[in-house]
């Protein structure tokens, strides 16, 4: 392994790394908004409603096809549909968002449905409207539940962005392989990419960990009832 080469090459990967971060975070933001909206719709949708079928069908479609096919589909089918070409960055955002929404619908649905039914009933019995129940009771609790699976989804998204190299978006992986083929330092470039992806995902996980423990800390269960009882006795 040629370590000096890896260090020298680092500056060439800064801009591509920025692109990877940009495309992943913008996609995550858009996908989370869409995922919350569609996931809630899915939860409040009555059984056997066509809207529910559509959402379910979409989730199955995304889960059942490889991301590389989804990326090619956006790359080759979107321009004739739109009548013009999106810049590559936005094409990437489109592909990753469409993919991630499919998973986030399920994350939101599971989180909201994990709030005990009794809370709905209790809230309704004291006269709260559906909107208030959703905004004040269910979503704040579901939001906290959603953070760990969303962290998973974020790391998946960052790694999936490497597949955008097949449509020649000059992100981290594309830049890494370009440099590998002009310098013939293939293993070094793979190692460097692995380190950068790892560091990026670690940083983002610390961020979501902070959200979980500091911003959404309400409704946090005591770590164990036993210790509390012990505290009282002592």
């Amino acid at each position: 392994m040629d370590f000096p080469f890896m260090v020298q090459t680092l500056p060439r990967l800064v801009a591509p790394l920025g692109l990877t971060i940009g495309v992943s975070l913008v996609s995550l933001l858009l996908a989370t908004i869409l995922g919350v909206v569609l996931g809630l719709l899915r939860v409040i949708c009555p059984v056997n409603n066509p809207l529910g079928w559509l959402i379910d069908g979409y989730v199955e479609l995304v889960r059942g096809t490889p991301i590389i096919i989804q990326i090619y589909a956006v790359h080759f089918l979107l321009p004739p549909l739109l009548g013009s070409k999106l810049p590559l960055f936005w094409e990437g955002v489109c592909a990753l968002t469409l993919n991630s929404v499919g998973y986030q619908i399920e994350i939101v649905r599971a989180a909201v449905q994990s709030i005990p039914q009794g809370q709905w009933e209790a809230a309704r019995s004291i006269g709260m409207t559906n909107r208030i129940i959703l905004c004040r009771i269910l979503l704040p609790q579901a939001a906290r539940q959603m953070i760990p699976p969303l962290t998973n989804e974020l790391s998946n998204l960052v790694k999936a962005s490497s597949v955008l190299s097949v449509v020649a978006l000059f992100e981290l992986h594309k830049a890494g392989s370009s440099i590998a083929s002009s310098s013939f330092k293939f293993v070094e470039m793979l190692a460097l990419q692995a380190i950068l992806y790892f560091a990026l995902i670690q940083t983002l996980s610390w961020g979501t960990g902070y959200l979980e423990h500091h911003v959404f800390r309400y409704g946090r269960k005591p770590s164990s009832f036993g210790t509390e009882a012990w505290g009282i006795r002592a």
Partner: protein
């Protein structure tokens, strides 16, 4: 009956829609050819390549795309009074992207082949694309005949794959396992360094470039009467004849005044004088 007919109509329109979507780039017969005019009006032409093919196109220390093809494109653009802009793309889908309007032409070290000719028209050759075999210098392989019992490989979707198949049949030899294919040369070089393959078939010039920069490798010619001489050409959409004619005229002028020789000297360290002056057809 009615339901069935309705289903057929729906199926028909879905099919038509799919065809329309997929066929967005298939040439319409009644179109007028304004391909050259469009380039002149825009003041630039774009050309597709994958910047992972030394020395034709690769990225320099500033991530800029450089190489033989880039110099050639700039020279042609200069003579037309326009700008030339490379578009880095995925080589496996380069022809599809050409028809999707991703760029005006392909200028990326493409070898003219019969299969590709079904989709695109070629320019006159601007480089020799003869095949070579990369081997370890101490492997004892001296000729095609010695490939029997060895692990052989080639780039996915390149003519070298067929040439390896032809070689096995022609000489009655058997390789060790199937012919391996790799997405690009860099991965294959690494596989060879790791001892996973014994011989790698690709274009002679790109293999030479690698062997010159890396110790312990050698390149031998890979030739047979069974396949035609191979040339590197630019590729155009079937309907873009005006653009192709103009490109060919300029290329002939570059050959005549020695500019092409100078570019070959710069990037390959030698010239390839006797290239045919007619576009390859089948």
């Amino acid at each position: 009956m009615l339901r069935r007919k309705a289903a057929l109509t729906l199926g028909g329109s879905l099919l038509a829609l799919t065809l329309a979507l997929l066929g967005g780039g298939i040439p319409g017969s009644a179109q007028t050819d304004n391909s050259l005019q469009k380039v002149m009006d825009a003041g630039k032409f774009t050309y597709g390549l994958e910047a992972q093919y030394r020395p034709f196109e690769f990225r320099d220390e500033n991530n800029q795309i450089v190489g033989y093809d880039i110099d050639l494109a700039n020279e042609i653009a200069k003579r037309w009074g326009v700008k030339a802009e490379p578009v880095d793309t995925d080589w496996a889908t380069v022809i599809q992207t050409l028809y999707n309007g991703g760029f005006d032409l392909i200028l990326g070290g493409m070898t003219a082949t019969e299969a590709r000719y079904e989709r695109v028209n070629f320019s006159i050759p601007y480089m020799d694309a003869s095949s070579g075999l990369l081997i370890k210098a101490d492997s004892g392989i001296q000729d095609r005949q010695d490939l029997g019992g060895k692990v052989v490989a080639a780039g996915a979707g390149t003519p070298s794959v067929q040439q390896l198949e032809i070689t096995a049949k022609e000489l009655g030899i058997q390789y060790n396992g199937e012919i391996r294919t790799f997405d690009n040369d860099a991965i294959a070089y690494e596989a060879m360094k790791a001892g996973r393959i014994d011989a790698y078939a690709s274009s002679l010039v790109s293999l030479n470039d690698f062997a010159q920069q890396n110790e312990g490798f050698a390149v031998i010619p890979f030739k047979s009467e069974q396949w035609a001489a191979e040339y590197t050409t630019a590729a155009f959409r079937k309907e873009d004849e005006a653009l192709r004619q103009k490109f060919n005229e300029t290329l002939l002028a570059l050959k005549a005044d020695g500019t092409l020789d100078a570019l070959q000297e710069k990037w390959f360290g030698r010239t390839f004088g006797s290239l045919p002056e007619a576009p390859p057809t089948w």
